[in-house]
């Protein structure tokens, strides 16, 4: 890389990111979190399929407080990744690329994800 005399400003605490950038970073973070959670889900499915006792234990795991917190965080990550992914697919099709929609849809994803996660948590456990 060439060194140039241009000033570089990279103070992450002072840079104000556009909302779409915040949503995008969260999409990545959620993706990595979901990737790390794959063994948890396989383990839970394996337990639930192991027999009557295993099924009851798997149901208890997601109903105890700690299980509910973990489940909520994973559902939030999933909801965010899901909704942001749909937004990206629409952008690929050149839908919502223009000024107000681009920002509004990013806000909508950020706001709707935890609501969807809460609704799913309420429905599931």
């Amino acid at each position: 890389m060439q060194t140039s005399p241009r000033p570089v400003f990279l103070n992450l605490l002072q840079i104000r990111l556009p909302v779409a950038a915040v949503m995008s970073i969260a999409h990545r973070g959620a993706g990595v979190l979901l990737f790390l959670a794959i063994p948890l889900l396989i383990g839970l499915l394996s337990l639930a399929l192991s027999g009557d006792a295993g099924f009851v234990r798997a149901a208890l795991v997601v109903q105890q407080p700690l299980g509910k917190v973990v489940l909520f965080l994973l559902l939030w990550a999933l909801a965010h990744h899901f909704l942001a992914g749909i937004r990206y697919l629409l952008l690929d099709a050149h839908l919502g690329v223009r000024a107000p929609y681009f920002r509004h849809s990013a806000w909508a994803v950020l706001g709707a994800a935890p609501v969807l996660a809460l609704m799913l948590l309420w429905g599931l456990a």
Partner: protein, 111 residues
């Protein structure tokens, strides 16, 4: 897994797998909320039926593909030193391979 899965092909597969994952997950979550299997037998009857079993096996393949392309993109964006990159990418592959074999073992027992 790695071969040819870069550039446009990776970009396209990421979207194809995303659509499949979204449809499968939407169906499973909806079903679990609307009429959850009440006991072990009901769960086995649901997951072990041939269409659902095949859909789940396809989900596993698509999930591993999607996770690989996505995490690889993240690793390539943030980790610059070549040896570190290689090490982390190999760890990611080993992790996904282990997950895939474990899930396959769980699925095969359902048959």
């Amino acid at each position: 897994m790695n071969r040819q899965l870069s550039g446009f092909r990776a970009w396209m597969w990421q979207r194809v797998s995303a659509v499949y994952l979204a449809l499968y997950i939407a169906y499973v979550l909806l079903r679990l909320v609307v009429s959850p299997p009440g006991d072990h037998d009901a769960l086995v009857a649901w997951m072990g039926g041939l269409p659902m079993w095949l859909a789940t096996a396809a989900f596993l393949v698509m999930l591993l593909l999607h996770a690989w392309v996505g995490v690889r993109d993240v690793v390539l964006d943030y980790l610059k030193p070549a040896p570190l990159r290689l090490l982390v990418l190999l760890a990611v592959q080993a992790f996904l391979l282990a997950c895939g074999l474990w899930a396959l073992a769980v699925l095969v027992k359902l048959l």
